[in-house]
C-alpha cells in the first residue's frame, strides 16, 4: 500500500480530470495533504474518491454524495446524534432501494427488447 498518490496518478486510475479532483476538494469532499503547494493523496483519500465516483455513477448530486460520505465518518459520541445518523442511513437506503427497483425494471425491459430482436431475427431466417 502506497503512502501517497499524486493528483495525476489518481486521474489516470479513475479516468477523471485534475479539475474534477480539485473541484471535489473545493466542495469539501476530500482533503489531501500538501507538500508545499502540491497535493498528496493518501490511501484514504483515494478510497474517498472511489466512493465519490460510485455516487456519481448512481446519479447522486455533490451534496447527496457529501451526505453519504459524512455518514461513513466516525460516528459521533452523542446519543441523539447517533439516532439522527441512523435515520439518515435509513433514508439513503430507501433511495438506493428505489434505484435498485428502477434498475431491475430497466434490465428486464432490456431483456424483453433483446428477445424481441432475436425473435425478429429468427423470423428473418437468421441463425443465432
Amino acid at each position: 500500500m502506497r503512502d501517497y498518490y499524486t493528483i495525476t496518478e489518481l486521474t489516470r486510475e479513475f479516468g477523471v480530470s485534475t479539475r474534477t479532483l480539485r473541484f471535489y476538494e473545493d466542495e469539501g469532499l476530500i482533503h489531501p495533504v500538501r507538500r508545499g503547494r502540491t497535493r498528496l493523496y493518501r490511501p484514504s483519500d483515494r478510497h474517498l474518491v472511489r466512493q465519490i465516483l460510485r455516487g456519481r455513477r448512481l446519479g447522486f448530486s455533490i451534496s447527496e454524495i457529501r451526505e453519504i460520505i459524512q455518514i461513513y465518518k466516525t460516528p459521533p459520541g452523542e446519543v441523539g446524534q447517533l439516532h439522527l445518523l441512523i435515520e439518515k442511513i435509513d433514508e439513503k437506503r430507501q433511495t438506493l432501494r428505489q434505484k435498485r427497483r428502477d434498475l431491475e425494471d430497466t434490465l428486464h425491459e432490456l431483456d424483453r427488447a433483446e428477445e424481441a430482436c432475436v425473435e425478429r431475427l429468427a423470423e428473418l431466417g437468421v441463425k443465432t
Copy 2:
C-alpha cells in the same frame, strides 16, 4: 384504463412540473396528441414518462434516456440493424450492471455504518 390524461394529471401522479413534461417533449422523448393546442397523454405516453423518470433516477442523461427509449420501440426490419440494436442493448446492460455493483457496495457500506452506530449506542448503554 383511461384513454387520455391531461398534463396536470401526470404532473401530480409523477411529481414533476409541466415544464418538465414539455421539456421532454421538446427533446423528442414523448409525443402526446393534441386536441386543439392542449396536450393529451395516452397510456403509452404515460408509460414512457414512467420510463423516463426511472432513467432520470438512475442518473442517465436525456440523450442516454433517449437511446434507451429508442431500444424499446418496435425492432427494425433489417438484419444488420437488429444486430446493432442487440449490441446497444448489451452496452446498456453493462452500464446498468456497473450501477448495480455500485449500488450494492454502497448499501453494504451503509449497513456497516449503521452497525457501527448501533455498537456505539450499546457502548453508551442504550438499549436498541
